[in-house]
């Protein structure tokens, strides 16, 4: 399979800001997300912790650092949260918000051609971070 293989998963109008949908990219289901600012991202559906189905999790923002004892809501439409243990992942990078770099979800390259949204069939390769 070519690394560049990808397919049309839906139309740009199908997904508003802050929305996500599960689409099929080749053999794999992926979660296509549009952030509050309109960017498109695609991530895998399996939590690296105990394998829960991230399609059942919430896609939203979350609390971000604003100093001890203060709450600030941010990262709107950029966070997928596991339906079980509530692990949070940044859909832009696949990284966990708690910062352990080996606990990640897969990310898939998303491209737009005309009104088509295309998602790569293979996850984005990246260097192992020790």
């Amino acid at each position: 399979m070519s690394v560049a293989e990808r397919s049309v998963v839906c139309q740009v109008d199908d997904l508003g800001p802050g929305e996500r949908r599960v689409v099929q990219a080749g053999r794999r289901p992926v979660i296509l997300c549009r952030s509050a600012s309109g960017e498109l991202y695609a991530v895998g559906t399996v939590c690296p912790h105990q394998g829960a189905d991230l399609c059942k999790g919430r896609f939203s923002g979350t609390a971000v650092d604003d100093g001890v004892g203060h709450y600030q809501w941010g990262l709107d439409g950029e966070v997928i949260r596991c339906p079980w243990h509530q692990w949070e992942f940044d859909v832009k990078t696949g990284r966990s918000l708690f910062g352990e770099d080996d606990e990640r979800i897969a990310t898939y390259e998303v491209t737009v051609e005309g009104s088509d949204i295309l998602v790569a069939h293979a996850p984005t390769k990246r260097d192992r971070i020790s």
Binding site: V46, A52, W84, D102, R104
Partner: protein, 375 residues
């Protein structure tokens, strides 16, 4: 002592997302080895479901708005409160839908026996004594009819009002003949269950060959009271409750009074055991004259009389897990539990560190519970 599987020279769990993506989806696994799940929460849709099982006197209490106290005092930052997001049925709280429980737990994990543990602890409800006793009886009637008699994979925990030990003993006597009951369950208590006033509960359970399970809840404080954050409470609360009750049972001589008693501590962790066992033994050596009724080292009472459920299990490498069992001194002390349908559910296919010997996994997930519960 157990050793790691020889072919496993990498103790890391499957952490790369690409590997995780291609790992077998746990829910699709077929032919899974049978499992005993020692902590499954059946839930009422509302307290009103108990009306049919309560004498007239108590209907007034329901009419005037009484509902059983929610077991948790903190607000939940989670997406579905105490539930797994995917375990909330269309009607009622997570754990109230038997069909969904079959679909999400009993079938996919090949559960041979699911021990129902409720979250209904009249001894911890601060209600009138007689009302608490009636609630325990009503709850047991409801569980028998709605759960235990609906699926023979369910095993029951006898609900009692632990604040009235004599009444609790009568309730145990009333239920013991039902073959699905395997244990009596006790919730949090602000004093040690080793105290002699609780003895009727242990004596009656022992006489009927029933276990006593102790399950904490967030209605119990930590050593610094109720800390600010849920995350703080979750680190401290469950282990502290169980440590305190374990020491109480051992030092008060409950296992001398009841040599056939079997106890299981549910949902309060186990990785603290080496510390507490060493510390109990050390203090017994020095202060034996305060506890002259003990005939053996505290550790030996624990290993012979007590088991611990695994959930919510901390992630750790297999080598550390094996060291822990070695320090505890037993590979029979852990019993698998999922805590379905709660959000901190442990998936039997993924929760234990990878690289453990298959026979050990089978003990933890099946044989230890079969033997302890005599299933």
């Amino acid at each position: 002592m157990w050793t790691l599987l020889p072919e496993n020279d990498n103790l890391e769990r499957v952490t790369s997302s690409v590997e995780a993506e291609t790992a077998a989806a746990p829910r699709a696994e077929t032919g899974r080895a049978p499992l005993v799940d020692c902590d499954v929460h059946e839930m009422l849709v509302s307290a009103n479901q108990l009306r049919a099982y309560l004498p007239q006197q108590w209907h007034r209490y329901l009419d005037s708005g009484w509902t059983y106290p929610f077991f948790f005092t903190y607000g939940y930052p989670t997406d579905a409160g105490f539930a797994r997001v995917d375990a909330v049925p269309e009607v009622g709280p997570a754990g109230s839908d038997i069909a969904l429980m079959r679909e999400q737990l009993l079938e996919p994990y090949n559960v041979e026996a699911a021990i129902l543990t409720s979250l209904f602890f009249p001894g911890d409800m601060r209600v009138q004594t007689e009302f608490g006793n009636a609630l325990a009886t009503a709850y047991n009637d409801w569980v028998c009819e709605s759960w235990l008699e609906q699926d023979d994979r369910f095993r029951g925990s006898i609900c009692v009002n632990a604040s009235d030990p004599a009444a609790a003993a009568r309730e145990i006597d009333r239920r013991a003949a039902h073959p699905a009951y395997v244990q009596v369950i006790l919730g949090p208590m602000d004093s040690g269950y080793g105290q002699e006033r609780f003895d009727p509960i242990f004596a009656t359970a022992e006489r009927h060959g029933l276990l006593v399970a102790i399950h904490g809840s967030a209605r119990a404080a930590t050593a610094i009271g109720y800390p600010e954050y849920l995350a703080e409470w979750r680190v401290l609360g469950p282990p502290q409750q169980h440590q305190a009750q374990l020491v109480s049972l051992v030092f008060h001589g409950v296992f001398e009074r009841h040599p056939d008693l079997r106890v299981v501590f549910v949902e309060g962790g186990f990785s603290w055991l080496p510390h507490v066992l060493w510390r109990m033994d050390e203090n017994y050596r020095s202060l034996r004259l305060e506890l002259p009724w003990l005939k053996r080292m505290p550790r030996d009472y624990v290993l012979d009389h007590v088991r611990f459920t695994t959930q919510p299990m901390e992630s750790m490498p297999a080598a550390h897990f094996l060291q822990l069992l070695d320090q505890i001194g037993s590979d029979e002390i852990l019993l698998h539990a999922s805590d379905y349908p709660h959000w901190d559910f442990d998936d039997a296919n993924r929760v234990l560190p990878s690289g453990l010997p298959k026979d050990l996994v089978r003990k933890i997930q099946y044989e230890n519970a079969k033997r302890w519960y005599r299933l």
